[in-house]
């Protein structure tokens, strides 16, 4: 064997040995953070919180001290005992409660003995950091004195709800005819939804339990990618398709009869919404039959330049979802809405009169109907 081979073998062996026994493969592991949490049930959490929130509980982080060379590693300091909160009635098992949050930094391998730092004692109940998926308790505002500079008279109490409006009366012994005492009452105002007696109870109960949201809607899934076109488009094809599109657009514009085309800028979304809201306020479906409430009607009308509907021009253009009789009732309600709220003219931009001279309104009671 040649000396070169010996030298090479010794060199490689030395290198391998250095890698295994030296610091070659003993790089410090990257520090990482471990968070341990205790998951408790909603009932346990309710009991815990019902007993009163601990006043700023101290969550002490156990920090193992990096040992100094030639000195034994000191045990981790015991966590500071927090102020004992008001003891809850229901105590979860203490042994299952791990330390709250520990940030662990692994010391260098070369400088540590093979003994872990002493376990810190388990903290008392009430220190647990818990993962709560439900509602959190809203902090109570600090009370503050509220003193008005001048005394204010007590406001009039609200009237009770009753079928028939009645004024408040007080008994008057001096009166010739004795008047029975009664509280003021008034019928309920209009509503945009129907709440039954049964639902009222449920809503009240729900409101008492928690105002926090229980679930959230699942985010919609990402739409599928469009399938790539298998055709290779050449520059000539592109030019042809562009020419076709232009021709189509111009052709559409040409085929529409010129006199029926409004000109000028279209109504903005806000202007359309304002008209929609104005009509909605007068669209009363409270007196419609169940079938009429299931009927969508399209009503066409002409408008004067001051924003008023031309009464004689209002007509039922089409309907769907119900019989002709039901559509007629639905149309009457729609017609009343258009005329009533348009009596003083709708707030429409005069300079865009061409855009709203003719209007088609679709009255869709799907959200208002009895189910």
């Amino acid at each position: 064997m040649k000396p070169g081979a010996y030298i090479s073998g010794i060199g490689h062996a030395g290198l391998i040995g250095w890698l295994f026994f030296g610091p070659g493969f003993s790089a410090d592991p990257l520090p990482f953070e471990v968070t341990e949490v205790a998951v408790i049930s909603a009932e346990d959490f309710a009991v815990l919180t019902a007993g009163g929130q601990p006043s700023d509980p101290v969550i002490e982080t156990a920090q193992p001290v990096t040992p100094v060379e030639d000195t034994p590693p000191e045990p981790a300091p015991a966590p500071v005992t927090p102020t004992e909160p008001a003891a809850p009635e229901l105590a979860p098992p203490a042994e299952d409660t791990p330390p709250d949050v520990s940030q662990i930094t692994t010391p260098p391998t070369a400088e540590v003995e093979d003994t872990p730092p002493a376990e810190p004692p388990a903290p008392a109940l009430g220190q647990s950091a818990t993962l709560v998926t439900g509602a959190t308790v809203r902090p109570k505002p600090r009370p503050a004195p509220r003193v008005a500079p001048t005394p204010v008279a007590q406001p009039e109490p609200d009237a009770d709800v009753a079928d028939v409006a009645q004024e408040q009366t007080n008994s008057n012994d001096a009166a010739e005819v004795p008047v029975e005492e009664q509280d003021a009452a008034a019928p309920e105002a209009a509503a945009t939804e129907i709440v039954t007696e049964a639902e009222k109870d449920e809503r009240t109960e729900d409101a008492q339990v928690s105002a926090a949201p229980v679930t959230s809607t699942r985010p919609t899934s990402r739409p599928n990618r469009p399938a790539p076109s298998t055709q290779t488009q050449t520059a000539e094809d592109t030019a042809n398709s562009v020419n076709d599109a232009i021709a189509e657009a111009l052709g559409d514009a040409d085929t529409t009869p010129a006199p029926q085309q409004p000109t000028g800028p279209p109504l903005t979304g806000g202007e359309r919404d304002a008209l929609r809201v104005a009509v909605s306020q007068c669209w009363n479906v409270g007196s419609l039959s169940s079938e009429a409430l299931a009927t969508t009607v399209v009503v066409a009308m002409s408008m004067t330049q001051d924003g008023k509907p031309v009464t004689n021009s209002i007509q039922l253009k089409s309907f769907s979802g119900g019989s002709e009789s039901a559509a007629n009732k639905a149309y009457q309600a729609a017609r009343r809405a258009i005329i009533r709220c348009g009596a003083n003219g709708y707030n429409l931009p005069n300079e865009k009169y061409d855009q709203w001279q003719e209007i088609e309104m679709t009255f869709n009671p799907a959200k208002m109907r009895l189910k």
Binding site: V195, T196, A235, I246, A253, W283, S289, R336, E360, K371
Partner: protein, 442 residues
């Protein structure tokens, strides 16, 4: 390559601009209205015009009853006469629409009353859609005796109600119920009949025997009910005109929960024998009863569908009382109630689209409605004790029994719109329970 791309981009934006302009200018402005308001429709009823002196009082009374009927639905709101700008002095005079629009009267009802010397009277009326400046339908006239002035007022209100809402009428109808007097531990029960609004109450039986669950026949001429006159529950049929009572001859230890078929020719009921209760059907022609169910559970509270083809009933065959539907001739039953709690006393709507029921859940009683397949269940009421729903002839209103809690608690009749609104008590002279809403009177 870059040149072609530039041409393409420029052409693209040109097309977009042209297309947008074309769309924006195409046709009339289109708006979709999906949100409205739910509030009573304001209406005005000036006093009906008396055409002679004898009609003076009646004309005012009739106008009041018409207004009360409409307001009682919860769908209308009356505008007081003190708000009127113009008065209607003549039934044939033209209407000053502007004056009625000014007070936001959306419907106007005018009428006139004439009383002849022989005690007969005529009532005529017109309905106007004020904001349309037009009459809503043609004028109508009813004739009758002065004793029946309330019925004529109800008929006027029925016509107005139907013309404005599109619903069928129901004011000219009657309700049979159990009138209760005395303390809770010694309650006297009698069958009674009244107008739908609680007026004109008349007793049909005395209080010598306990009576339960009266049910009108489809034509309103008979009432079938359960009587304890013999010490055991037995089914009786009462003729409303003559107040004659006939006990149906049926086998079994106890028979109860009867209900007429839609043609009035047969009755379906529960029959208890040997501790087991099943449904039976019996014709009034004397034929033997036909057994419809044969389960070792309690089947009761049957009710026919309007077409007479099916029966909805209550059964605890699944362990708790639930609602089932089967053919009117018996056979396999299909469960339709699957919600929490116990369901009972189902009643098929006259329209055929809904089933009303009593539900007990979490210590509360509810009156609710559901589709005939059990879907879209809605609870309309909630209280200590609500039970026994009965449909109005048009299927829009439900009347039921509500009993208050405590030693002094007593049952009363309540009604509620199927939307869940307009829950109100029906005034009766005494405590009342078990209402059965009859058909429109003829």
């Amino acid at each position: 390559m870059m040149k072609a791309l530039s041409i393409f981009i420029a052409a693209f934006w040109a097309v977009v601009a042209l297309t947008t302009t074309a769309v924006a200018q195409n046709g009339p402005l289109r708006i979709e209205i999906t949100d409205g308001v739910i509030e009573p429709l304001p209406f005005a009823v000036p006093n009906f015009q008396p055409e002679n002196a004898a009609a003076a009082e009646l004309s005012q009374n009739i106008a009041n009853v018409v207004a009360a009927d409409l307001v009682g639905t919860g769908l209308f709101r009356q505008i007081g006469s003190d708000a009127f700008i113009s008065q209607v002095s003549n039934f044939s005079a033209p209407i000053q629409y502007a004056d009625w629009k000014a007070i936001n009267a959306q419907a106007l009802i005018t009428g006139a009353v004439n009383v002849s010397g022989d005690g007969r009277m005529t009532v005529k009326f017109r309905v106007y859609d004020v904001f349309s400046n037009a009459e809503l339908g043609d004028g109508l006239q009813f004739a009758g005796t002065t004793n029946g002035w309330r019925r004529m007022a109800h008929k006027v209100a029925d016509a107005v109600y139907s013309r404005i809402t599109g619903e069928g009428p129901y004011f000219d109808s009657r309700v049979v119920f159990v009138s209760e007097t005395g303390p809770k531990n010694d309650r006297k029960k009698r069958l009674a009949i009244m107008d739908y609004d609680g007026q004109n109450t008349q007793f049909l039986t005395d209080s010598s025997a306990i009576v339960l669950a009266p049910r009108f026949s489809p034509t309103g001429d008979r009432v079938i009910y359960t009587s304890y006159a013999s010490g055991f529950p037995r089914i009786n049929v009462l003729d409303v005109a003559s107040v004659g009572i006939r006990q149906l001859d049926m086998p079994g230890e106890m028979t109860f929960a009867p209900r007429f078929s839609q043609d009035g020719q047969s009755v379906v009921f529960s029959l208890s024998n040997g501790g087991n209760t099943d449904l039976y059907r019996m014709s009034f022609n004397g034929a033997a009863p036909t057994r419809l169910t044969s389960a070792p559970s309690i089947e009761t509270a049957p009710s026919f569908s309007p077409d007479g083809q099916r029966i909805v009933f209550e059964s605890d065959r699944s362990g708790s009382p639930q609602l089932y539907i089967m053919s009117a001739n018996g056979g396999e039953a299909q469960r339709i109630s699957f919600g929490e709690g116990r369901y009972g006393t189902p009643v098929w709507s006259p329209r055929g689209d809904l089933i009303a029921f009593t539900k007990q859940n979490k210590g509360r009683f509810h009156i609710g409605v559901m589709r005939t397949d059990g879907s879209e269940e809605r609870l309309l009421t909630a209280s200590f004790l609500d039970e026994g729903p009965s449909w109005s002839p048009n299927g829009r209103v439900i009347m039921f029994t509500r009993e208050t809690q405590g030693a002094n608690g007593a049952p009363a009749l309540y009604s509620v719109d199927i939307s869940g609104r307009n829950l109100k008590q029906v005034r009766t002279p005494n405590a009342a329970s078990d209402p059965s809403w009859g058909p429109l009177q003829r």
